[in-house]
């Protein structure tokens, strides 16, 4: 096993550049990963990089198709799969927030009193369900795949649960943040078996990346 390359899944999209920065800072040879074009698998001497959709990364790791990965804490929480979370890589910070129309406060409270349920749109039904359950609020959850901030504007939902880095998109669409659900950043994760039987390589990698993440953050 240890003779083979470590298989590391890397999320394309918002966390991709940050992942490269931390890998470079840790002194890890990334080869063609710097500019993969349409490649989905990039091999270096040490590592096989697998480039995947962020929300699919937890599945790659949980089922052992990748030994380790970089994934957002938000995506991990939503997937609720069995992966070992080994280090906080500190980049890709974003917050899960509850938002509603700037002018909606009273009308939501009123309709909740009369209808006993509020409707929430989100890409993250599991996190959303847990949040409202913790607050004892009855909700109907509508799962959407994008442009969540649109839902309150077109009357599809009273509130939304979504991720935001700066809050700009929400503000531009006249939504205001009413609560924070959780904060997220990129994590280094491993398959639970890989972390046990290949623990030297996996834990070394976790240590190197965690230290590098600290340096990147300082700089």
């Amino acid at each position: 096993m240890s003779a083979e390359r470590l298989r590391m899944a890397i999320p394309k999209g918002a966390l991709f550049e940050g992942s490269l920065r931390v890998l470079r800072a840790a002194g890890i040879e990334i080869g063609a990963l710097a500019d993969p074009g349409r490649l989905l698998i990039v091999d270096t001497d040490e590592i096989r990089f697998i480039i995947g959709k962020p929300t699919d990364i937890p599945s790659y790791v949980a089922y052992g198709a990748a030994d380790v990965a970089i994934a957002g804490a938000d995506v991990l929480a939503e997937a609720a799969l069995d992966v070992a979370e080994l280090a906080d890589l500190r980049f890709g910070a974003c917050r899960f927030v509850v938002a509603e129309r700037e002018d909606a406060g009273a009308s939501i409270a009123d309709s909740y009193r009369r209808l006993g349920v509020i409707r929430v749109a989100t890409k993250y039904p599991r996190i959303t369900e847990a949040y409202y359950a913790d607050h004892g609020v009855q909700v109907e959850i509508v799962k959407l795949h994008g442009n969540i901030e649109l839902a309150p504007l077109i009357g599809l939902a009273d509130q939304v649960v979504d991720i935001t880095a700066t809050g700009t998109t929400l503000r531009d669409n006249h939504l205001r943040i009413v609560d924070e659900v959780l904060s997220s950043s990129a994590r280094f994760v491993a398959n639970p078996v890989a972390v046990r039987i290949d623990s030297q390589r996996v834990m070394d990698m976790a240590g190197r990346l965690a230290r590098a993440a600290g340096e990147v953050e300082q700089s």
Partner: protein
């Protein structure tokens, strides 16, 4: 309509079914070699029985209500049914009890996760005795089983929850914190675990020890390292049982197949000491695992210490396939054709001599050749002739019928 099996359930056909039986037989032989005896329990248990033992059943157990209104559950694992059996049927029997099983278990799974809802567990439970000798025995059985089924490459990891529990008690940070820390450990979330261990309310030396302990692994030296870390906060005793068990594994000559790993944190809530897991490289899920659960039988009014493990038969077969291990299967020795009465008489004579024989409707040698090829039989016999013929031109005299040739018996 074209019928289908329900999601997560499946049929098992010929080759796989044969391999499952062969592997189960090899496992059973090892169990018997340690004096374990097979038991069977019903597929269904009272839901409250499982609940009383503190199993986390939410979202995992298949539940049903019977005509009397009792809430029942299909067994999601075998440890609790065996504990229930021991607490009800073995009262007054002299302990220890060495029980083993090969049984189907059922777990609810969400859609589209590619997970089975029925699978087969093989395992042992050693009840009524505790201490390093029984811990080591359970680990020895596990190692021997994995070797006996033919796995070339596997790892057995052992650890103990005693260290973590002792450190949590020493931290003095309250029940809520303890529960959160255990939850983080079970979720294998080291980021959250480290955060909780570093809180101001936690005795700093204990927090440091917690962060270090879950990262220690190796051979005997790992136990020493863990002991030094735990000793600094007065928790060294929690390692005594594991260290003694390790000595016994060395004595049994199995220590080189076992790895100490204080990061193993199984997500069942009822373990009190030893924990053990088995892995095969390339398989992203453990082959199985178990440990010591000394408090479970007290919940059934029959307090006695207990330890055991369960392996997933399906995952063992996946690992065997991944390692290209051939599983010997008994093939078909002969097909017989010809006149019906003669076929019946000849086939009976061959079976009486230990052959595996399929009777066919073929009337002549050409028909038999086709039947033999289709069935993968080594020999073809035209009833009434005292000779068997193979596809490559060999002949075998059948007067008297010889024992089936090894080459034909084992494919």
């Amino acid at each position: 309509m074209r019928p289908v099996t329900p999601r997560g359930f499946r049929d098992v056909l010929f080759e796989e079914a044969a391999e499952r039986r062969t592997v189960t037989a090899a496992v059973s032989a090892v169990f018997a070699g340690y004096g374990f005896r097979f038991v069977e329990t019903p597929a269904v248990e009272e839901y409250r029985t499982l609940e009383a033992a503190g199993a986390s059943l939410e979202g995992t157990a298949f539940r049903m209500v019977d005509l009397d209104g009792s809430l029942l559950a299909l067994r999601p694992e075998m440890t609790l049914p065996i504990a229930r059996l021991a607490a009800s049927r073995l009262i007054g029997e002299p302990a220890p009890h060495r029980l083993c099983y090969a049984a189907d278990v059922y777990r609810e799974q969400a859609s589209l996760r590619g997970e089975a809802r029925q699978f087969t567990q093989v395992g042992v439970e050693l009840l009524g005795v505790n201490g390093p000798a029984s811990d080591a025995e359970v680990v020895c059985v596990l190692v021997d089983v994995l070797a006996a089924v033919g796995l070339r490459d596997f790892t057995v990891g052992i650890g103990t929850v005693a260290v973590l529990r002792a450190l949590i008690a020493a931290a003095g940070a309250g029940e809520t914190w303890s529960a959160e820390l255990l939850a983080a450990a079970h979720a294998r979330n080291l980021v959250e675990f480290d955060r909780l261990a570093s809180l101001a309310s936690v005795e700093p030396a204990v927090g440091e020890a917690l962060r270090r302990v879950v990262r220690i692994g190796g051979g005997r030296e790992a136990i020493g390292e863990c002991r030094r870390v735990a000793d600094a906060v007065g928790c060294a005793d929690s390692l005594d049982a594991l260290e003694a068990a390790w000595g016994l594994l060395e004595a049994a000559g199995l220590a080189d197949r076992v790895r100490v790993d204080f990061g193993i944190l199984r997500s069942f809530d009822y373990y009190t000491g030893l924990i053990v897991e088995a892995y095969a490289p390339g398989l992203g899920l453990p082959l199985g695992g178990g440990g010591r659960y000394d408090d479970v039988l007290a919940a059934f009014g029959a307090p006695m210490p207990a330890a055991g493990f369960a392996l997933s038969l399906e995952r063992v077969l996946i690992a065997l396939a991944a390692q290209d291990v051939a599983i010997p299967a008994r093939g078909l020795d002969a097909v017989v054709g010809g006149e019906d009465v003669e076929v019946a008489r000849t086939a009976a004579a061959l079976r009486g001599a230990g052959w595996t024989v399929r009777m066919t409707g073929a009337r002549d040698d050409a028909g038999l050749i086709a039947e033999a090829a289709a069935a993968g039989a080594t020999w073809r016999v035209l009833a009434g002739e005292a000779v068997a013929r193979s596809h490559d031109g060999r002949t075998l005299a059948l007067d008297p019928v010889p024992a089936p040739a090894l080459e034909g018996g084992a494919r």
